[in-house]
Structures are given as C-alpha cells and as structure tokens.
C-alpha cells in the first residue's frame, strides 16, 4: 500500500500548526500505559495526525467485554494480547507511524525499570479496569433505566493506583519526559498534565489586540502620518485614508491641546470620537467609521501587560548556563523593554486589513514591518550578548527562533504543573474548600474526590463500588466512608459530598463507556499535540469531565 502524499493528507491540520508543528509531531515518541478504551482513543487521534512513534504497554488479554467498548479490538482479537491488537489496528490508520507494543503491566515496569521511560517524549497514562464485563441495562426499582455492569467475580487489577501514579510522575519529572494522565469512569473522567515547566512562544490566541501603537507612535510612523493631509479635497482620497493614519494624527492633535495627555475620562473619549465624526464629509466613509470603532485603541495604556511583566520578573529570567533558550530570550526581552523599547515589547509588525487605498496600505505595512525588523535586530544583539555572558555559543539560538519570539513576545505563556505527590500531600485548603462549596464547582470537585476514593475502595475491597451485582447499598455506604476519610485526610473536615453524587458513582460501577472514553481521549490527545508542537496553550489545571450535563470544570489543585 503506497503512502498518501503527506501534504495532501495532512492539509487540514497543517493549516493549524504548520510545517514546524507537523515536524515536531513526527519527531515525537509516545508511550501509552494501558490500552483500554481511553488510552486507545487518545492514541488513535495522535496516530491519525502523524505522530512519530507509539509504544503500547498493557499486560492484559482481550476479553469479550472489550468488544463492547474498545473499537480497536474485534472478534478475532479475543484471547490475544490487547496491546498487540490495538497496535495492529492503529498501524492500519497510518503506516507512517512506527507502532510497537510490550505485553507487560505498567505497574511492573514502573517498579522494576524506571529508566525505560527516558526514551520517550511523552507518556500517556490511563486506567484499564477489569475487562471481564459486558454492559447491559436493567430496570431498577426506582423505575429508571440504568446502565448496569455485569461482571465476573474477577479482581480489580490493572488500575494505575495512586502509588504507581506518584512513582511514574517522579520518574518522568526526573527524566524530563512529559506526562498526561487520562481516565474515564462512568459518566465522569479526568485529564491531568504533569510537566515541570512548559513554555510557549506561538500561543496563537484567538483574539489579541493588534500591535498598532496608536497611543505611542514611533518617529517613522509619525513622519508618515504627518505627510498625509486628512483634509484632502478629492473625496475618493478622503475616504481611502487608512484609520491608523487618521487616529495617529488626531491623537497627536489632541495631546498638543491637552498638555501631552491622551483622552482618559468618559467625556474626553466621547469628545475625541465626536472630533472624528466631524471630519466625515459623507455618510459612506468606511475609513472614518473604522477609526471611530477603533478609537479605544488610542485610549489604552502604553507598555506591556501585567502577564508579560510577571514573566520578565520571574526568577528564571536571571539566566545562567543551564537556562533554556526560552529564558535567554526572555532575559533579552527584559533588557530591551527597559532600554531601547522604552517600556514596550518589540513591535509585532503586522496590521489588520482596513479601508484604504492600496498604495497607502502597502506603505503603512512596510513601515510596521521595518520597525519590527529593527526591534528584532536589537533583541538579537541582546540574545547574543547574554549567551556569551553565560558561557554559551552566541549563535546557538537560530535567527528564525529569535524572530518568532519577537513577533510573539506579547503573547508568550508559561505553564507549570505540580507533582501529583504534591497535589495529594500538600493540598491548597482554601481552594479546595471554595470548590466544594461553590455551586458551579461542587460537582466537579465531588467527582475528583470520588475518583480518588474509588481507587482507595478498590485497594481495600478488591473491587470498585457497584462493580458486582448485589451489595449496592453496602458499597454506597462504604464509598461514603472512604470519601469522608479522604476529605478528612485533605483537611476538609466537615465538608460532605451529596448522597446523589455518591449513589451516582456507585451506579457507574467502574464502567468505561466508549463515548466517554472517546471524549476524554479527544481532550487528552489535543493536550498532547499542544505540548509536543509547543503551539497553542495547554490546559493549566486538572480537567474533570461531567457527562451528565456537560458542565465540566478545570480545577486548580
């Protein structure tokens, strides 16, 4: 079978993350722990997108129950290694991906061979609950149809329990391997990233104010604006003066008449807009309408955002020979802002489309591009000097990287994640209490607690609550005790979870529904892509899925 022409096959995604993003994906190697529905679905999306290589670790065999919720195994797989079958299916989806499998239980690997994980770019860790199940439905006494799990009397094993999670987290942290946890459980689930620090240059936000500097024009822009007469007599020329020029000129006139200040009060802003309106000589002058709409860009404050300020004040900006390229560039940015930049970041360099004659528009574009290029050259010099100072080769950061950094300087992002162990042993009590009592967060928080509680339950009783027929009442009361114990361990004394939620968790019976696994797998794969391409911004908190009313939440824990 010949391979599909990659540029065509990947066309729809190249339009999002470009050739560089695609290259990063194709260089990456992913390790999946447990290939139940959640793990399989996560990997499926990555394989389709052209990830470099996958290694599937799972010690279980395919059972009849797996046919009900894992699309990647079929009749012929029964009795065979699940990892082998899932791998084979995934390979069919994209023969450019290198797919391997190891028939081994993840817990064993974590305990006996931690260095195994160092070879990977990223590890996706999922649960795989006892698969000796079929999913049927039964009418309960309350008259509601429920999804009930019929299970064999096998033990609950293969769950990536708390200890293993903590161990794995430490191993990956030390080896500088990124880690993503993903889990589905009935109508709930969880996705959690664990990386020490993830820096993003190309954050590509949907909406971000263009860098026009209307309230702080540099000399060339001012000179260009001065060369244009707003009161030109030719009506065509009058309505094709770009709004950037209109606003720069009007803002300058205002500051001259107001001792150097720009409009700041409500009345002043209205007055400014009225002055613009008064310059219109016809109703159809779109350029003036655009100027009025864009006038708020003149009123905005100069300088950098508080978020960027925080980044340049971060201790990592005090660079040394161990600093990453990102922080070296941040250090250069910091120097630029306090010197040549006069409080501003380097100019981004593009302008939005606006009503204008072609000539004026192209001239304006050139002026913005020239200033951006000039700022970039200054920053580049700073970068080279800093590299020299910290004992690194001054050419070790590519020109194109510095250029991209300058273009995106106002939008750079930093994501840091706590160790799981830290989250478990050092909870932020006020935050937890707030989540437990806030109407919008209490259910998500409840699910978070219960997801941990059911693992403790399984460790004590060798099965998950509601997993076996009969004994539902006993399981409910045991789960409640376990959950209350966990809350108390976390220091949330007196907080309770609703009976409804506890009953619901038992009703789930540790079932892994394919639709939920596919949803969680979609989210997890998307986060993996953002982490690997280093484009767009990964979620900064733990995602708790709510499949009942879809009011899922992100919890900062």
């Amino acid at each position: 079978m010949t391979m599909a022409e990659p540029k065509t096959k990947y066309d729809r995604q190249l339009r999002i993350w470009g050739d560089q993003g695609q290259a990063a994906l194709e260089k990456a190697s992913i390790c999946l722990l447990n290939c139940g529905p959640t793990g399989s679905e996560t990997l499926k999306n990555l394989v389709l997108g052209g990830i470099g290589s996958i290694t599937v670790i799972d010690g279980s065999k395919v059972e009849l129950g797996d046919l009900g919720n894992n699309f990647m195994v079929d009749d012929s797989s029964i009795g065979q290694s699940k990892a082998k079958c899932v791998c084979a299916f995934l390979q069919e989806l994209n023969d450019a991906v290198k797919a391997k499998f190891i028939e081994e239980f993840p817990e064993t690997l974590i305990a006996s061979n931690p260095s195994f994980f160092s070879q990977f770019t990223l590890v996706v860790a999922t649960q795989d609950l006892d698969s000796g199940r079929t999913i049927g439905s039964a009418k309960m006494s309350s008259g509601l149809y429920l999804l009930q799990v019929n299970t064999s009397k096998r033990q609950a094993h293969n769950a990536l329990m708390e200890d293993s999670m903590i161990k794995l987290d430490r191993i990956c942290r030390e080896a500088n391997v990124m880690l993503v946890f993903a889990r589905s459980y009935g109508l709930t689930g969880l996705v959690r990233i664990s990386v020490k620090e993830h820096t993003v240059i190309e954050s590509k936000p949907d909406h971000f104010l263009e860098d026009l500097r209307l309230n702080n024009p540099w000399p060339e822009l001012r000179r260009f604006a001065d060369s244009i007469d707003l009161n030109v007599t030719d009506p065509i020329a009058h309505k094709h003066t770009p709004y950037v020029v209109i606003l720069v000129k009007m803002a300058e006139e205002w500051t001259k008449n107001h001792s150097g200040s720009l409009p700041s009060t409500r009345e002043e802003k209205k007055e400014f807009k009225d002055l613009l309106k008064a310059k219109m000589i016809a109703m159809d002058e779109d350029n003036y309408k655009e100027a009025i709409e864009a006038s708020f860009k003149v009123f905005g404050s100069k300088g950098i955002s508080s978020e960027l300020q925080q980044i340049i004040n971060d201790s990592c900006a005090e660079v040394d020979s161990n600093s990453s390229d990102f922080w070296v560039m941040v250090a250069a940015l910091k120097e630029f802002i306090s010197n040549e930049g006069g409080g501003e970041a380097p100019l981004e360099g593009t302008i939005p489309d606006m009503t204008s004659s072609t000539e004026l528009y192209v001239n304006l574009q050139t002026i913005y591009q020239a200033k951006a290029e000039a700022d970039f050259l200054v920053i580049e010099k700073h970068v080279r000097n800093i590299l020299k100072k910290i004992g690194r080769n001054p050419d070790s950061i590519k020109k194109s990287t510095v250029k991209s950094f300058c273009k995106n300087a106002r939008k750079i992002k930093i994501c840091r994640y706590r160790l799981i162990e830290d989250e478990y042993n050092n909870p932020f009590l006020p935050q937890l209490q707030k989540y437990l009592t806030d109407e919008d967060y209490s259910i998500a928080m409840g699910f978070y607690i219960l997801l941990r509680a059911v693992d403790r339950f399984a460790a004590n009783y060798n099965s998950f609550p509601g997993q076996f027929d009969g004994g539902m009442d006993e399981d409910i009361s045991r789960l409640k005790t376990t959950a209350v114990g966990l809350l108390s361990d976390l220091g949330c004394n007196g907080s309770t979870l609703t009976e409804d939620l506890i009953n619901e968790m038992c009703r789930f019976g540790a079932a892994e529904l394919h639709a939920v696994a596919a949803f969680i797998g979609g989210i997890a794969s998307q986060e993996v892509i953002k982490l690997i391409t280093k484009q767009f911004v990964p979620m900064s908190a733990t995602y708790i899925f709510n499949g009942i009313d879809h009011k899922s939440q992100l919890l900062t824990l």
């Binding site: 079978m1 096959k9 999002i16 999306n45 204008s356 072609t358 192209v362 794969s525 009313d549 879809h550």
Partner: protein, 376 residues
Amino acid sequence: MDRIEVSNLNRQFLFRLEDVGKPKAEVAAKRVLERVSGVNIVPHFCRIEDKEIKFYNDFTIIALGLDSIEARSYINAVACGFLEYDEDDNPREETIKPMVDGGTEGFKGHARVIMPGVTPCFECTIWLFPPQVKFPLCTLAETPRTAAHCIEYAHLIKWDEVHNGKAFDPDDPDHMKWVYNEAVKRADLFGIPGVTYSLTQGVVKNIIPAIASTNAVISAACALEALKIMSGCSKTLSNYLTYNGGEGLHTKVTEFVKDKDCLVCGPGVLIELDVSITLQKLIDQLEEDPKLLISKASIIHQGKNLYMQAPPVLEEMTRSNLSLPLYNLMGKVSKDVIHVSGMASKNDKKISCLRKLRVVFKGIDGVTDMDMAGGA
C-alpha cells in the same frame, strides 16, 4: 453524498487510502459492520433532500454531521415537520423527533440537543451563526490590500471575464491553478505579499481546518447525548455546548430558549383560505406570501403527495390535483396542517426549504379560534 478524499484521512478513521473516491456512507457502514456485531447499518449514498420526508420519520433519533447551515436548516425543518401540538399548544410527545448536532473548526466545536417543541430548534437560534465574510466588490476591483482580495478577484471577477459562461469548479485542479496564477499576477501588480497555492485553495473553497482530536470530542459528546436520550439513563445536555481547546480548555453549556413564534418548530404559519381555492392557486400564492416566499412548491398532506414538482413521474401523477379545490383534497376538514417544500431565497441564494402551514378554511363551522388541529 460525499466521496472520500485524501485530505479526509487525517481524521476520518473509518477510511483508508484505498477507499479514496468511494462513497463515504458505504465505506463507513462496511467498516463498522466488520468490527461491531449486533448492529444494523444501511448506507444511503445520496443528498439528504433526495430522501422522501417520511423516510426520516422511521428513526428514533437523527444525528447530524453536516457541514453547512443550509443542510442543517433543511433537516431541522424535516424533523420539526413531524411535530404536532395538542389543543393546549403543547407538543405531543410521540411526535417529538430528537436530533443531536455537532460541528467543529480547528480547536473549536459545538454539540447540541434539539427536541422540537421543547428546546429551541435550529431555526430558533439561527442568529448564532455570523454572516459569512464577503469582501466588498469595490475592494476586490479597485483597492485590494490583502492576498485574499487578490484571490477572490481572480475567482469571482476575472474568471467570468475570461471564461464566458463556463462555471468555475473548485474541485478541478486546472481551474484552481488558473485562479492562483491570476491572483499572483494581481498581487504583483499591487505589491501585495502572501498569495500561496494553499491560501488560494483555502479562500476559494472556504476550507475549514480540521483535526482528529476536536472531532473526537464533539462526536463523542453527540454520541453520548444520543445514548442518554435513547436509554434514559441520565439527564441530557440542556441544550448547547460550546468547546474551545486552543487556549487551555473552555467548555460552556447554554440553555437557549425556544422561540414560540418560530416558523419551523412552532405550531405552523397560519394561512386562511377560501374553500374555493385550487391547489394551483395556493402554490402561486405561496410564492407571493411575504412570510413564505416559496417557489416551485410541492404540497403534502397527512403524508399524501398532493402535488410534487419532481421527479417527473410523480409530477405527472399528481398534476391533475392542481385544478381541484384544496378543501376537497384535504378531505373537507375546516383546518389542518400541510407541509410545503420548495425553493426559498436566502442571501441571494436559492436553497431547499420546508415549512409547516396551518390551513384554516374561512367560513366553515363558524370556527374562528387559531388552535391547530393535530389531525383530522
């Protein structure tokens, strides 16, 4: 009605390279049937409008993976067309045809549940969709500034000037190459950077970036809602989920409210007629009626075709009804619902449309109240 293309393969996981060119419906059905037992899937390789309306009534739930507003509008009208109201203007539960709808674009997506008569239908919330970006003609013709302007000039203006009547086919690579070359020429003339072949395709075909992960999330949400609706195992999404995974992760559930005057999911557009009016007269009137403006109308009453514009064999069979009084054709009842399908104008385009009409015949039984009859 689509066939598989290579660019589908980065996300449409039921298709393989050797399937390129084959009908999506048939391959998808085959692949699922190969792997999942106990399920029955029948593929239909055709447009959604090609099916008779009553075909859709056979199903418990309709799941939508459509890619245009027009298509969604059409199927929404079909499903809402089955809806009947009782004397208290409440929807009759057994006539409610649930739909789940989803759509994606890059890292963004939405999923919604539509219960006609209960939640808003697609038409009730049509304002959610912003109008498509159209460049002013004078910008394209006189003051282009961006690469997209140059491309659309070549596509919308220059093509017709040179090709005299021959329609532009976005799927013909030679046509696309011609547009690209003309766009480059124009861009060079005006000193505008940025025209690439990829951008040309994107602008002309309105290509929407798409990835496996977002599609997995949204389709899973839709599947989950469908499962919950059919099994009753949990309450459902109420009723619109928006999703954005580019900047962190944002989901929001909005409970939109039904428009009680909705032309599509409401009790129906009221139309008062004389008992003498012929079917032909009605069809003519529908074209003029400001609330409807439907041309080439076909009329259905209680599942029976009173007059069908197409296909030719049905047209011939029902032609004789045109000269008969509508009152007689409807079984001489004082009021009832009829369904009208035809072509309506929207944004200078003609699209298929389907409308529910509450017909009330004047002067019969002295009936003056506006309640809709749920059936004869």
